[in-house]
Symmetry: C2
Subunit: 237 residues, 2 copies
């Protein structure tokens, strides 16, 4: 009897996996990975496979979406599927888990650290003051949704912060924070200062956080840890 | 020159820490931990210290809040502060980081897996459909806030799910999901079926998720993976 284990890889390199995740990966018959729902910028599939001590097949988007290879192996073997971040944040992995269940294949999840909480924590903001998360897509002809600016506006209206994730594609394209800021400004939804869209925000991958009402400690943290210019922040509430 | 490193322990036992976290902990001069903002139910401080191979001092709430011991050591040594989950989700740790900064002590964060994304992923729900997180406190005389029912109501009004965290205290008291459901029902804010408040929801610690509008795949996941009775779920939207 096989099994499909979703193993979270965390945020940056091969050592962001948990010890439990490493144990599970080493106990698998076959290992697959995907790096298109997110990417580990500090490592490669080769380094990851070397650390685990087992060969590792990187799947493309269509392989994961069809699920055929994963489910064929998982029907008869213990299969580990290595996924950046916390593994079930991508809808496609929930779909895959449902299909495994339908095929009578047991599934398990080994959690990893996620940008969802990491971004909040690095900035020193408070998680319970965040509204909905949104994603800015890589703009394409005929696809420029207004939903990111709508989500940010609704959150700000309620005094809440917004975590804005930035799209990336399997071919290596990704959106920088500067590009995302310009997108949001062009969509007319957010009154960001122009200098921010031109600022050096460090090497990618990026995410954006649009603050709502700031507590005193949150304001302090943005000044001390996020390099926020004092004149860009509202006075503490 | 000293340093203060916040190291996330993840969710359940000593092997939920990342490899990076273990490396950092082993490279520290002195290790502290706290288990009052959350708790690792699958391990003990002794097991954690044995795995790391270094002694470990568990701090009480007042020690963490005053910060005196941590900052005294971190002024001159490399100090690791081990924290359940992803370490900056607790406001008190952000305060501590700000005080370290004020004292000229560099800080770093090693992320861990968090209930914030783990609960969402285990249920197969979609993160971007969650509104604000809220917490149900252990009710005390004169302290029965209505904020949890207000947050749930506002999220449901917008079709969004709510992650409801449940309070725990340093003396070992914690709220079960059943108690939290009764609290929410008594506060009049949520129309939960009475059978749910009496149901066997497995061993604690618990969190609650109150669904808003469900996508088809979310509904399927709740039926297949969360044991949801079909008649308790609205039809797919």
């Amino acid at each position: 009897m096989g099994e499909l284990i979703f193993i979270g890889l965390g945020l940056y390199d091969e050592r962001d996996m948990s010890l439990h995740g490493l144990d599970e990966a080493r106990a698998c018959d076959t290992l697959f990975a995907e790096f298109y729902t997110s990417a580990l910028r500090g490592t490669t599939a080769e380094k990851l496979a070397a650390m685990i001590g087992k060969p590792l097949t990187v799947l493309h988007r269509e392989d994961v979406e069809s699920g055929a290879v994963l489910l064929k192996h998982a029907a008869v073997e213990r299969v580990g599927f290595l996924v950046p971040g916390d593994p079930m944040m991508a809808t496609t992995h929930v779909d895959l888990r449902l299909r495994a269940h339908e095929a009578g294949i047991p599934t398990r999840i080994v959690h990893g650290s996620s940008v969802i909480t990491a971004a909040i924590g690095l900035l020193g903001l408070q998680e319970y003051k965040f509204g909905r998360t949104t994603t800015v897509p890589i703009p394409e002809a005929g696809f420029r949704p207004a939903s990111p600016v709508e989500v940010i506006a609704a959150n700000r209206e309620a005094g809440l912060h917004t975590l804005v994730l930035l799209d990336l594609k399997e071919d290596g394209r990704f959106l920088t924070a500067n590009e995302a800021l310009r997108y949001l400004m062009e969509m007319g939804g957010a009154n960001f200062p122009e200098r921010l869209a031109a600022a050096d925000l460090g090497p990618p991958l990026h995410s954006l956080v649009v603050p709502g009402t700031l507590h005193f400690a949150e304001r302090e943290a943005l000044l001390r840890f996020a390099g926020a210019p004092p004149d860009a922040l509202p006075p503490p509430s």
